[in-house]
Symmetry: C2
Subunit: 433 residues, 2 copies
């Protein structure tokens, strides 16, 4: 068993990747283009620039009730016993400007959302008014200036920032953009990630493997993870555990994609092949070999031809953990670099990352041990017991498929800890939903 002489903590490994990458890409790097997205296809895209409202919303004073637009001074002292009697001069229609301004002692019938006529500064709800005839209304209580009225620009003023760069657009955001008349927005181009599986024992899922072979899981689960993050997978298939076979696919990946993720093989020899391929395609080639994390220790991070390359473990659960820690991080860095705010600002990277993550508090159902100096990522099932959320670790040497299928989230045993005792409150990152 080869020991890794230079096993780095997660954050140090990320810093080493970033330093090597930016040295090649220039500073500040612009790693992705910005493109325009039509509002109907902008859902889930990352906004590249702040969006500033080109206009006041609403564009004019509007009523928030069905009733009558009046001047507040005409209603002072009004009561049911002594109502103010006003002349109704017009019906204001939705979507139309009032036909005329009103003078003292006059009122206009107005629907919710209708525009106030000149001379009116408040609206009386229909419940507090009584129509004597078509031309006369009795107002039964005083209404103060601005009551039941939205002022021009009160919702959003012209020039106000409505959505900040870096935001992942939700249905609500799409609605807000429509409301200020923005029908196309600058978004960050989708990064492309080449996905390669290696291992002499790996066969495609369509093939019937002999008992000594296993099917290619990682090409599918990693491609789906790439897609879920809003990036484009470039699935390049399986490479034999030989230098020429792997080099060919990695070079293809560097041509077609923005980064390359190789998973497996599980043997030491296969890792050596990946290290040699990455080194030869440098500089700088391999930057990190071995990370103090479980599962996923034998991770390789490097930069070839200015693009990040990853050697992930062959075990599917370990591959997905390492993907989340490093490939996802690199994707966020790329996206952040294209966001006009603070290029590759760590806070922005974190924000982009957390905007796609949900964390919940839960109580640990049983003790979990760990080695100090190593960050342990543990898959858990979430169950509600007595009104409380409980995190139940999913363990077992043989439970590859059940770990994949039954876990709801992941918790981290920090690197300085020797483990967590039953009942500890932990933060769980949701893996589904």
């Amino acid at each position: 068993m080869v020991e890794f002489l230079d096993v780095k903590p997660v954050d140090e490994a990320r810093r080493a990747l970033l330093a090597g990458w930016f040295a090649q890409a220039g500073r500040p790097p612009r790693l992705l283009c910005v493109e325009d997205a039509d509002l109907s296809s902008a859902l889930g895209r990352v906004l590249a620039r702040d969006v500033v409202s080109p206009e006041d919303v609403p564009a004019d004073r509007r009523s928030t009730v069905d009733g009558f637009a009046v001047a507040a001074r005409d209603t002072f002292g009004a009561s049911e016993a002594l109502p103010a009697m006003l002349e109704v001069i017009q019906d204001i229609a939705m979507g139309r400007m009032p036909e005329k301004a009103q003078g003292p002692g006059q009122a206009s019938r107005i629907p919710t959302g209708g525009v106030l006529p000149g001379g009116a500064d408040t609206c009386v709800m229909v419940e507090h008014a009584e129509l004597l005839d078509d031309g006369t209304v009795l107002v039964e209580r005083p209404s103060s200036p601005g009551e039941n009225v939205v002022q021009r620009g009160e919702d959003v003023a012209r020039g106000e920032t409505v959505l900040g760069a870096g935001r992942v657009l939700s249905p609500f955001d799409i609605g807000a953009l429509a409301s200020i008349g923005v029908s196309s927005v600058p978004v960050v181009a989708r990064p492309r990630v080449a996905v390669i599986s290696t291992g002499d024992e790996i066969v495609p899922p369509g093939t019937a493997p002999c008992p000594s072979q296993v099917r290619d899981i990682n090409n599918y689960s990693l491609s789906a993870s790439v897609r879920r993050l809003g990036a484009e997978p470039v699935a390049l298939g399986i490479a034999e555990d030989t230098y020429p076979a792997l080099r060919l696919l990695v070079e293809k990946g560097l041509e077609q994609a923005d980064m390359v993720a190789v998973s497996g093989g599980s043997s030491v020899g296969a890792r050596d092949v990946a290290v040699k391929v990455f080194s030869d395609l440098g500089p700088p080639g391999v930057l990190v070999h071995g990370v103090a994390v479980k599962p996923g220790k034998p991770v390789i991070l490097g930069v070839c031809r200015g693009k990040p390359v990853f050697g992930l473990p062959g075990h599917p659960v370990s591959a997905l953990t390492a993907f989340d820690l490093f490939v996802r991080y690199a994707l966020n860095v790329m996206v952040a670099s294209a966001v006009r705010k603070a290029p590759a600002d760590p806070a922005l990277v974190a924000a982009l990352s957390s905007s796609q993550e949900t964390w919940v508090d839960a109580r640990l159902s049983r003790s979990v041990s760990s080695a100090p100096g190593r960050e342990d990522h543990v898959r858990v099932r979430l169950v509600r017991k007595a009104g409380e959320l409980v995190a139940d670790p999913v363990l077992g040497k043989s439970s590859l498929i059940s770990i994949m299928v039954d876990s709801d989230g992941e918790m981290v045993v920090p690197s300085e800890s020797e483990g967590l005792i039953e009942g500890t409150r932990v933060q769980v990152r949701i893996l589904r939903g």
Copy 2:
């Protein structure tokens, strides 16, 4: 102001919709087709049938360590002082079957994942063995039968259900399917939802509105919400507030989609037009007019030509709340009806719904009042204060855009409550992420 004479609680309104719908569609209704999805495009789709493993995983006994495959009885009593000396007869390669079975006193070199040869029942880690020469190994501690070995079918046995019908497929699920050799799965067809905006004051986002007009927000935000739920929006644009205009678009929607959602207009007259159109396209036409929920009271639920139709409020935030309560519910019912398990089983509908939802516990930052008999849906911002999650209600008559843009989630003040006091623990449904 027209009062709704028959305002129903949310669950009663849903039951009335379901009863009217199923009376038209037959029982048990099959409201959507099942289609096959290739594994590479199955992410986020809903599984229509249970997936049963066609084979044992692993297909043969495998080592979980790098080391030597041996017979446990040959290592009994072994120690560093008195190691067992075994003959190494072969190297087992990854992806290959062992060349031969081994006899008493024999061992095979084996990598992690390698298949055990006949005659071996345990594996010794390389750390606990010492190679004397190419043909001889010293084993320094006893190894019991099955130690460091995964048995055939131990992860998943042939015939075992790996994923249950109704599941929304995640990257992990895709990986699990690949591992059992399933390259295409039966999924529920995506339901189509026609989206129509009404209102004489509504103009398309690309148009410059005059101050009395507003842009069409709902077409965009509702279409994006439909897409986010994995369904297909059919955006039909804006209908004037007249019977012929609305009827034309609703009929178009009934032809092209599985359900029709009309939003707005904000005036009483516009609602009357929608009620008349739905009634004339029945039976049964309108089933519910008015729901005891805020925002969103003036909701219309109906069934025309066997398909659900919805009249949603015109206000964008109210429209989205009503969408979540009713359109989303109907989508889940449709999907559940196509899942071969329990057609339109309420539990399955709830499961489908919750698989796309994340709820968090939070403490309410300030008191919120409510009317008993009405379910209030309140948008909140989530902030972490002193290590605790705090839900801060987003309120304000004029804050349409800020409510849309700044809220992280939604909490419900139950119908029997008169409000919630500051400090209450509430459940918040996450709206982003």
